[in-house]
Symmetry: C2
Subunit: 396 residues, 2 copies
């Protein structure tokens, strides 16, 4: 892959925007120091972003007896961005200003019978209308929407190539949405979205080599290299959930045996609970409620819950140790809803297994932590894709 | 990581040199088409390399009725490069011209008692003298030597941070060599060296996302992202050999249990043979001879050899499937001496396990093949580091 000067300019601009978003208002000098870019490059990029109405001049700061320095900030009202998290049981829509501050959110539940493409498109558009109404934002201000769709996605063509739970194949979701919405739509998958959210706003800000471990019904590992998303050759990198942890172990829904997901995905955790206590009442609940009930039982020091989380933490620790050894990352973030519920217990329980299975040299440099993003990281990352898309070359 | 214009220039120059080395003599137009760089960028880089004596003008080619096009080639006699593969039982030294064509090679065996730093330095310098004598090359022509050292290496400082087999810690190998040799020395590890060799000269030329699976006494997976080596946060990426394949499985020499290396490293393969046939005469031989004898027995369709390779191929297939799922590479290359001996049998035997454990989507795009480099890939890669070093910014 030849990096062109256009690629480098886009990379530099994203780097710069991340700092502006984090530290507004900020001087060009501070941006140059923070990003490592030359002052000339920063001035040039800032000039372009001022011209496009993304940044705005907001005054001056003193510089210890020198000339006052001009300050810039995101022009929050310069436009709006939408991030959509399409999940199996709901569609979550969030509206942001250009500084990626949350303006409104809406959630549309999806019943099991509502998974035809036109139904999903209908729920997305009504969610979009709801957030615009709530915030009183004119639809013409929306620069774009990022849509995270589970399964395999072809970004360039805007296709949902394969959504296993709904058995979608090559659904032209972007074009279907374009017919209903009056702004550009950027399709991607939740693993990429939540990894970008960590890079821009979360635990990975300013980091080079990052792994975001997504713990939900399915599990995966979003990878960033040199501060940029690593997608692999056909945009399917990160299927850590289907790497083998236990040769000839539990059957996984992918068809293979012993996958990480069969142990640390939500159904896998409940299978462990079943091994520990086949009569547990928690096993009667639906998956999401069950994980919540497990967290509650854990807080009450219920023996079966303690043992289930202990075993799960060990599985997770070994599988995370694999990531440390193979990829030598700077930071590993545990994200998604199972991490939100059980993350603290898993994090402390897994440290021993990580230390046993990871080599000392790569491990000594790795921070392992919970996702610090308080809102929906997938919607936030999806909106970031929309910002990147709106600023892409050829969209002046 | 901010990519500076200096980084991009270096990346472009390496990309261009790879094509010149592969296709000399070549026109600027062909280089532009092959690399995706603009003709202006190519002309500028070629001008710099001509000035530095790395390239040379070698005539013209017709261009279908247009103006004849100037051709350039590597200036093979513009200098010489050395690649050193320091292994546990030998030191292998190769001398190359600037087109990375092999001029001479020498191997110095290391006995078990010869592993003090000054002994290793002594063997390297006598190997260097031997190849220069053989080829009749003046030492003053040598632009540099790349030295591949097993274990953990700190490149910037030229330190062997930790060599487990010799129990070296923080040995300043580069400085010790600099006292004995009159040219710059670039230290790295064998996994990085053989991955670079594949990128420049082997199966990965022109590829973006690449994994080089090294099968020797130890095993590892060199990773390239976007056509460049991925090193991780502290230069230890690629420790695939110590990812877990069998939870609570065989004890690995790293201290953990169930590591990939304990199954597909040479001693692991011999342990499998021991499980299959505890009385096998092969088990009496030293490791390298034993793997050769196993290959011979396999050729004679010996039942124990067939079963051993079948089981090994399955272990390898599952562990390679993990790489496919996690990293979605374009090509996976099996390299090093165990692959040279058993690779064909392993490759055909592993395909079933790979297909069972890798997801169809990433797998459909992955080529899996044996290393096509006929000579020592580690020495070749090490010499490539010396070429990169000689061309690095600040060395005009
Ligand atoms: Zn699976
Ligand atoms: Zn190990």
């Amino acid at each position: 892959m030849k990096r062109t000067s256009r690629d480098i300019r886009r990379g530099n601009r994203n780097e710069l925007l991340r700092y502006v978003i984090a530290r507004s208002p900020v001087s060009r000098q501070e941006l140059a120091a923070a990003t490592g870019l030359s002052l000339a490059t920063v001035a040039n990029l800032v000039g372009e972003l001022l011209e496009r109405g993304v940044l705005v001049e907001v005054g001056f700061e003193d510089s210890d007896g020198g000339r006052p320095r001009g300050l810039v900030a995101m022009r929050a009202d310069g436009g709006a961005l939408i991030g959509v998290d399409v999940a199996e049981t709901y569609i979550h829509v969030e509206l942001f200003d250009l500084a990626l501050r949350l303006l409104a959110r809406a959630e549309e539940p999806l019943s099991e019978s509502e998974n035809r493409p036109e139904q999903v498109v209908g729920h997305i558009t009504s969610g979009v209308r709801a957030v615009l109404d709530q915030a009183g934002v004119d639809i013409r201000l929306v620069l774009g929407a990022g849509v995270s769709m589970p399964g395999q996605v072809e970004r360039e063509g805007g296709l949902s190539v394969f959504a296993p739970n709904w058995n979608w194949r090559d659904v032209p979701l972007r074009d279907l949405l374009a017919g209903a919405l009056d702004f550009p739509v950027y399709l991607d998958n939740p693993l990429m979205a939540c990894t970008v959210a960590e890079l821009w706003f979360g635990a990975a800000r300013g980091c080079d080599d990052v792994i975001v471990v997504n713990l939900g019904t399915g599990v995966g590992a979003g990878i960033a290299v040199g501060g940029s998303l690593y997608r692999g050759f056909s945009n399917t990198a990160g299927e850590w959930g289907h790497t083998t942890l236990v040769l000839d172990g539990r059957v996984c829904h992918c068809g293979a045996m012993g996958c990480v997901e069969a142990y640390v995905g939500a159904p896998g955790i409940l299978n462990t609970l079943r091994e520990v206590d086949p009569d547990s009442a928690i096993l009667q609940l639906d998956q999401a409620t069950a994980i919540g009930a497990l967290a509650d039982a854990l807080a009450k020091e219920d023996a079966a819950a303690l043992e289930t989380v202990k075993r799960t933490a060990r599985y997770l620790g070994v599988a995370v140790g694999n990531l440390v050894n193979l990829l030598n990352p700077q930071v590993i973030v545990l994200s998604s809803w199972v991490a939100a519920r059980l993350g603290t217990a898993l994090l402390s329980g897994m440290r021993e297994a990580v230390a046993e299975h990871a080599l000392p040299r790569p491990l000594e440099h790795t921070r392992i932590m919970l996702c610090p993003i308080a809102t929906n990281a997938v919607s936030l990352g999806a909106a970031t894709f929309a910002l990147e898309g709106a600023l892409a070359p050829g969209k002046a």
